[in-house]
Subunit: 181 residues, 4 copies
């Protein structure tokens, strides 16, 4: 895969992490497919659609090289969405996946990762492949079918790029429950 | 891809087709990814979950080498689900994709394709890859995320197996709406 | 309550009943609040919205003088929705409440109760009070809140009209679970 | 209606109001049916079920003597749900109805109205009739059908208690859209 095909995803600029003892970074996560849900804890569309999807994706891909990250990119009402409030939200909604707090900018408005990725708002979905290339940067909610299709597609391409093909495919088999792919 | 890895999907045994002027067959569709929704028009789980998903999958993959087929596999209450009734159901629910009527067996109970695929009931989901190999044979409803992941994965593997890799990947680009994969 | 306020609901014209050993009639049911869900078994809006609501209303008002009746008013595709098919539908969807089959008209199109009530289509909701007066004749689905409000209102008016008021009200009491009305 | 039948609802103890220029009280609202949704802005069950229902009830009964009030009864994570945060929540979720902030207790745990009503948690639904009597005090979410039934029932009882019966009933009429109750 040529690094010319997609632009490299810029590093996240993070002031703090929740749900992880280590500070994460795209650099550290290279080799995994990174799925980033940018949200605000008081954004209704995020709470009703994106957070539930993020939790489902996190659970479904638990044994895959897929890393789900929440990115709390507060661009309004900053006082109401500080770290302590986010921790309560995280506790009550049982997020389960690591959440990065997007670093405030100097003017206190659009946080730094949000600026760098030119996010248009929340919710936004960012997907970064195993080579660190930006594959999706989407504003708004996407249907589960669409997200599943994208992740499945990228995982398959990566699998084939880095493994002996026959070996990968022969790992899948049918059993009484059905045939897994 | 080795033909030894998965069993070849047996041909459909069909008495009639709806929503297509041509009789279809796995043989004729080789080279496409075939997604078969086995259902009964009076099966509540099919009507509330599988049929809506089949319609969504049909619409989402309209421009892809993915072929959605309904398979009306009646194994109970045959009198109430004859071809005329199915045509009404198809009209009212605006199915849109071709529907095969599974050929009745001589004893009039389990129809022939259902027997051949050892379907455990309806709804069932069958996925057959471009080489005609059986990749999924699942009884019950699957979440949109799971189905999207499977189709995306199989499409990507096929794409890479049959195309020049760089060419395929470079076809995807970002625009103002986001980056498509 | 004056019988001049609302028109008397015309009697149902029914060729057959399902889920009841007795033939019912408005005449026989006088003294109960009658809630009639007119539907067709192959009408998508009926199946996805009205039938589930009818089952919920039937269950919630099980111990009240509220009688839920399905009215199968077939005005199109008659061949696909004959009694045998309806019985299968009733079995699969576990309707639970009595279902009247609206008597076919001589020309075979709009059935007779549907004509008499001037129903505009299916689903339709008809509510008849304890005096046999028509209180609602609505085409389309109504929200659960609206239907609950109507039934609760009519039950309360009837209760007060026919009982000693203090006695009725004092029957309601609070317990640890909350206060019932 | 005897004041002995139900206990009088104790007055709300409120530190502040949102969405109303006047401080409200049960005393001031006497003569209306008061429906109180006790919630916390970071309680998932409140956000997904009770708040949407409260908005629907508020809209449906806009022209009725029904008063919807939110009661923000914070009994945990107080720092994250202070007035400023609630105002943001109110703005983002477009609540529309007046919201009372339950007065903190001296120990800073269970707020005073919550204590007085012995609420078991959030969400809770409280209904107070036109005489100021407590008619419902329920912990957890109730189905729209149930809430509609309760409000409809109480409104009807009150209507009949305070009006000339014939006059009230004759105000309802059928038109082409259906018959309103």
């Amino acid at each position: 895969m040529s690094s010319l095909d997609f632009s490299l995803a810029p590093e996240l600029i993070v002031s703090d992490w929740i749900n992880t003892t280590d500070s994460l970074s795209l650099e550290k996560l290279k080799g995994q497919l990174i799925v980033i849900y940018a949200f605000q804890m008081l954004c209704p569309g995020c709470v009703s659609h994106s957070i539930p999807q993020a939790k489902k994706v996190h659970e479904y891909y638990a044994d895959s090289p897929v890393k789900i990250i929440g990115l709390h990119s507060v661009f309004e009402h900053h006082e109401a969405m500080k770290k302590y409030a986010l921790e309560v939200f995280n506790h009550e909604y049982k997020l389960g996946f690591p959440v990065a707090i997007d670093q405030e900018s100097k003017d206190g408005l659009i946080p730094q990762t949000m600026q760098r990725y030119k996010l248009r708002g929340t919710p936004s979905l960012i997907i970064i492949d195993e080579q660190g290339q930006l594959r999706l940067n989407h504003f708004g909610h996407l249907d589960d079918l669409v997200v599943g299709n994208m992740i499945g597609s990228l995982l398959a391409k990566e699998e084939i790029a880095t493994n002996d093909k026959e070996e990968v495919l022969s790992a899948s088999r049918c059993n009484d429950e059905g045939c897994s792919i």
